[in-house]
């Protein structure tokens, strides 16, 4: 490693006051214009950092940060609860559709009470718009392991059966 590279590697720690030049380093620095220019830059950078303004009140900052982190944690807990409820509602809704699709044509359509029994989730009212959108999107996906009313089977049903299915959605 040549002397300039060696000196350059040591400049930050010397400029920050953590080390000193060896006699050899000092001699090279006295003779090398490039190293002198870099050294002036490093000294200026260290001085700039030393004199730079910074946070006025670290203690107050810590308190404000603590409050913000607590609020963030509370918000994420509510969102997770909303996802859990939404996921459960989506599963229940898919089950309703599956039951409705296999219900014999001569049976009475699912009543509102029956639907409520399958969807006893008034918490839906508390969901945010984005959460409801996500819930609607997940309703379209089949639930693993259950027979589902997917788009390809819709055409197999007669108009009256489709009306019955739609009626259950509308409550």
């Amino acid at each position: 490693m040549n002397a300039c590279v060696s000196l350059s590697d040591r400049m930050p720690e010397v400029a920050l006051g953590r080390s000193d030049w060896s006699p050899e380093d000092a001699a090279h620095l006295a003779d090398c214009a490039e190293c002198q220019a870099e050294w002036r830059l490093l000294v200026a950078a260290a001085a700039l950092a030393e004199s730079a303004p910074t946070v006025a009140d670290p203690v107050g900052l810590a308190a404000a940060l603590r409050l913000r982190l607590a609020q963030d944690r509370a918000g994420r807990t509510t969102l997770r609860r909303g996802w859990l409820i939404g996921g459960t509602a989506a599963t229940a809704a898919a089950l309703v559709l599956a039951v409705a699709s296999t219900r014999p044509a001569d049976q009475a359509p699912i009543t509102t009470a029956e639907a409520d029994a399958l969807l006893p989730l008034p918490e839906l009212e508390g969901l945010e718009t984005a959460q409801l959108d996500t819930l609607l999107n997940t309703i379209d996906r089949p639930v693993a392991g259950t027979s589902t009313l997917d788009a390809s089977t819709m055409g197999e049903h007669e108009g009256e059966e489709l009306e019955q299915v739609f009626a259950t959605w509308e409550g």
Partner: protein, 182 residues
């Protein structure tokens, strides 16, 4: 009379682990330790004086939110500086590319040689503006080296690069700044 035992301050690793375990005072200690340096880093990166508090808080908020992402290969401060740099970048984008290097009013100190101080202030301001205009990696490497004395291995861990690349970035930054400042 025997001297009272000197209690060592807990390491950043210990404080981070304590915070993860629910000790909020550990977070407060990390803030007290590193917020001032982070503020100086952001200022020398081009942040305006009156934005430092908000930027520092945002950087710390992001850091504590994803503290599990700090694996300890780089120092906590270096890791925090990188997050701070991201916050500054996001602020720059939010302003849609408008120059964010603040031109500070210079208050001449009341000293015997105001001309020397003025020259020093001008050099410092030119350097600050020069640093702010460096490409991001060059800026981060330069500031981590010159403000923290970080070695190339630590810088590489903090920035997700190699020690060799960090060295190259540093020398590019030095070359550019020498042209700007002199």
């Amino acid at each position: 009379m025997s001297a009272a035992p000197v209690l060592e301050s807990p390491s950043d690793h210990a404080l981070a682990a304590a915070y993860r375990a629910g000790d909020e005072e550990a977070a407060a200690e990390l803030v007290r330790r590193h917020a001032p340096a982070l503020g100086r880093f952001l200022y020398t990166s081009g942040a305006a004086r009156d934005e430092i508090d908000d930027l520092v808080q945002e950087a710390l908020f992001r850091a504590f939110r994803r503290l599990d992402g700090w694996r300890g290969e780089a120092s906590f401060r270096s890791w925090l500086f990188v997050i701070g740099s991201n916050v500054l970048r996001d602020e720059y984008r939010r302003r849609k590319g408008r120059q964010i290097v603040s031109l500070e009013d210079r208050d001449l100190p009341d000293r015997a040689d105001p001309h020397a101080d003025l020259a020093a202030n001008e050099t410092a301001e030119r350097l600050r503006q020069g640093v702010a205009t460096l490409p991001r990696l060059q800026r981060e490497v330069f500031l981590l080296r010159t403000q923290q004395g970080a070695g190339y291995t630590e810088i590489a861990s903090a920035l997700g690069t190699t020690p060799g690349a960090a060295r190259v970035h540093y020398h590019h930054a030095v070359r550019r700044l020498k042209e700007m400042v002199t």
